[in-house]
């Protein structure tokens, strides 16, 4: 029996009597088709309602607020102000600075996490004793609450009591003011975030490495390819879509950076680590400027969507190319 026949047989076993298995959906009676569509939508409805309630409606309402002045006593838009909030936001040096700070943080943290993540994944996928324990240990940073991670690292980096400076002291290096210097504060933030999220990249990378086809590597070996040539000509091209997929997932996570910055530096010193989400939070919930905060959030959403779209297109290109 052919595969097609098997499928049809299964189909006829579950299809209603009025809809023979050999009848294509378009040729079914209209009532049956409507019933079928209705049934599907009925099952989808709870998920759709939840999705609309928790995602779409809030999102559109935020956009509405971004064009309005919010009445704090009723928490409703008091009057439409057109593009005023957006103009205010684009003239706000603090917001523009926070975008820049976020950009610097992303430019430093993401490549570092990708390189470390894939490097560690290669090591963990080689055969050696104890790698299972190390794999399990690697998951710990990911499950630590971000605020706790920020707080603990703040203690570790303390110039007087911190463990990091104690270790540096053992090799004769004077205490470093990790969080008080504007440049070092950003470096510290990147280090904390890297400690926290590299294991996530390791997980994705491990899955990608394990799914690589063995026969290709055997062929490369037969052809006399060395370790580096195999990495450059076989492994990396095959892994490119996985690398970019991991990058996109981390990008979407990293752009939301908020709690570690809040716990470790509160955006300081000055505005050195004032990432955009922290700035928006302060504007909204300390400054009570919900209109401008919503405009900022909408702009960040637009920028994030645009860049994510570009990354996805790049991913598709890489998949097709290799």
């Amino acid at each position: 029996m052919s595969t097609k026949t098997e499928t049809e047989a299964v189909g006829s076993a579950v299809a209603p009597p009025t809809a023979p298995a050999d009848m294509s959906p378009r040729r079914r009676p209209l009532g049956d088709r409507l019933k079928d569509i209705g049934g599907r939508w009925l099952f989808l409805a709870p998920a759709l309602i939840i999705l609309v309630a928790v995602l779409a409606y809030p999102l559109f309402y935020t956009i509405q607020i971004s064009f309005a002045e919010l009445d704090l006593s009723t928490f409703t838009p008091a009057k439409n102000v057109g593009w005023l909030n957006y103009r205010t936001v684009l003239e706000d040096p603090g917001f523009l600075n926070s975008l820049k700070v976020t950009g610097v943080y992303l430019a430093l943290a993401l490549p570092l996490q990708m390189i470390l993540g894939f490097g560690i994944a290669f090591l963990l996928n080689a055969e050696w004793r104890g790698r299972g324990v190390l794999r399990a240990l690697f998951l710990i940073p990911m499950v630590v609450v971000p605020v706790v991670a920020g707080g603990v690292w703040k203690m570790l980096l303390d110039p007087m009591w911190g463990f990091v400076n104690y270790l540096l002291g053992l090799v004769g290096i004077d205490p470093i003011n990790w969080l008080a210097d504007p440049t070092l504060a950003m470096v510290s933030l990147v280090l904390i975030d890297t400690w926290r999220w590299t294991p996530f990249v390791v997980l994705i990378a491990s899955a990608g490495i394990m799914s690589l086809p063995g026969d290709v590597f055997e062929a490369a070996k037969v052809d006399g390819a060395g370790w580096f040539a195999t990495l450059r000509k076989v492994t990396l091209p095959l892994l490119a879509p996985v690398i970019l997929a991991a990058f996109i997932v981390r990008w979407l996570g990293a752009v939301k950076m908020f709690d570690i910055a809040l716990a470790a530096t509160k955006g300081g010193p000055g505005q050195a680590t004032d990432v955009v989400n922290l700035y928006i939070y302060e504007k909204a919930f300390r400054g009570l400027e919900f209109g401008t905060a919503s405009s900022m959030a909408t702009l960040v959403l637009a920028i994030t969507m645009l860049l994510t779209f570009l990354f996805l297109r790049l991913n598709r290109f890489l998949e097709k190319r290799w």
């Binding site: 809030p58 607020i65 008080a180």
Partner: protein, 460 residues
């Protein structure tokens, strides 16, 4: 942190706003409803057959202590009022209260607010006027005039009394008598001036173990980017006769005195432990409690944990002195930081809620509070009474001196709904100056411009 019960009414636009921000910037907040100006519901104080329940949202720093010790004491008098207190971290408290008060059916009957929050919370229309809305439930012997004016004023806005002082707090100077003595210096007195303090400070930075490196320093206080950090600078400014804003809410801090005050705050770092530029609340406290710093400019309410409680401090009560901050050209320094209790206007148990606040802020309740938990009082009668515990005597003196300084120098944060936003601007510019990214003068110029812009946009 204990989890908070959610408001039970349907999703509304406020929830949508919070959710929208959450969806776009990964901030999670839930809220609902809109305000109304309806009459306050009394709801009684309960009976054996029909007890009433009230719920309070408070700072988690003291919520558990209240739940475990204050509530049982209150229930001795009012056994039919069940009180549940939810503790929320300080950083999240204002936002949660803002969202809560505008909900159609608030979860909380009582909100505990930090000093500058009352205008912001009252502006939502969600707070009951204790003298107006709830005046009929006020006991005849509740003596409003017995409160010191500073603490009571923290709960007032636009002529209405929205809150009563429950945990008074004052920015004060702590000093370690042992370290002063070892440095060959006389212990400070309330007459100590900033000039004298700064002359003594280098002598308080010492190498006590002979390894060639300092291991004891002169001072610990706030320096990090935090809305509370500028209160130190503000107090120095106030004690030199300066003010943040004038009567018309125009900034008046960008003056030579303001710059000098900010520079003094920054200069204190020279005599502070390594890494002190990131100090906020806990770090200077820890350094002082471990005998690493000779002085600390900090909220006085930490005195018990700093000088008395062996679980939290290495110091002995006789080692720790407390007094007002050094004297400027106009007065000694102090800064107001009251925790006030307010009743949600939409509470269905407003009478029971106000009964609890009345008891806790009454002459009897306040004395119990101070003597049992070491909480700072706001009433003149309490401060003039003889405390049950000897260690409270010098503390009462420092608080009383602090209230005088506060009244004289108008030492509080801006009394506007935009107070936190202003403090945030000051915190950012202050932090830029502390980290050397701008000069003190440039920081105040920037802050003045930003505050002007903010207040102008709000119609001032």
């Amino acid at each position: 942190m204990r989890s908070l019960p959610r408001a039970t009414r349907g999703t509304t636009r406020r929830a949508v706003l919070a959710g929208g921000l959450a969806a776009t910037v990964a901030l999670s907040l839930a809220a609902c409803g809109s305000g109304d100006d309806g009459e306050v519901t009394g709801g009684g104080v309960g009976t054996a057959e029909k007890p009433v329940s009230i719920r309070m949202i408070a700072n988690d720093a003291f919520a558990r202590q209240w739940q475990e010790q204050m509530v049982p004491e209150f229930n001795k008098l009012y056994p039919h009022i069940k009180v549940t207190i939810d503790g929320v971290p300080y950083g999240d408290l204002l936002a949660k209260e803002m969202l809560e008060l505008t909900a159609p059916d608030p979860t909380y009957d009582i909100v505990i607010a930090d000093d500058p929050w009352i205008p912001q919370l009252a502006k939502t229309g969600g707070l009951a006027d204790l003298k107006g809305d709830l005046g009929k439930y006020t006991k005849s012997d509740y003596d409003w005039d017995d409160f010191n004016t500073g603490p009571l004023a923290a709960g007032e806005w636009k002529g209405k009394q929205y809150g009563v002082p429950l945990r008074s707090n004052v920015l004060l100077m702590f000093y370690n008598k042992t370290l002063y003595s070892k440095a060959g210096l006389a212990a400070p007195t309330p007459e100590l001036t900033w000039q004298q303090y700064l002359e003594q400070a280098p002598k308080l930075v010492r190498d006590t173990n002979g390894d060639g490196k300092p291991d004891a320093w002169a001072v610990g206080t706030y320096w990090t980017k935090d809305p509370l950090t500028p209160t130190i600078w503000q107090t120095i400014l106030n004690s030199n006769g300066g003010q943040l804003l004038d009567e018309n809410n125009k900034p008046t801090f960008n003056t030579p005195e303001g710059v000098a005050a900010l520079q003094t705050h920054i200069d204190l770092l020279k005599y502070a432990p390594p890494g002190a530029a990131t100090y906020q609340f806990n770090e200077p406290l820890e350094a002082f409690r471990q005998g690493k710093t000779a002085t600390m400019f900090m909220w006085g309410s930490v005195y018990k944990g700093t000088a008395i409680d062996p679980k939290t401090t290495t110091l002995k009560p006789e080692e720790v002195g407390i007094q007002v901050m050094p004297v400027g050209t106009a007065s000694a320094g102090a800064h107001r930081g009251m925790w006030t209790g307010a009743v949600a206007k939409k509470s269905k148990q407003a009478e029971a809620a106000w009964t609890l606040l009345q008891w806790l802020s009454s002459k009897e309740g306040e004395k119990w509070h101070a003597n049992t938990l070491g909480v700072f009082p706001a009433r003149k009668s309490t401060l003039s009474s003889t405390p049950e515990q000897a260690w409270l005597t010098p503390v009462f003196k420092a608080i009383a001196d602090g209230y005088v300084a506060i009244d004289k120098g108008k030492m509080w944060r801006p009394k506007l709904p935009e107070s936190d936003a202003i403090q945030q601007i000051l915190a950012t510019q202050h932090s830029l100056a502390v980290s050397g990214q701008v000069t003190a003068a440039q920081a105040l110029k920037n802050a003045e411009d930003e505050v002007n812009k903010l207040l102008k946009s709000k119609g001032y």
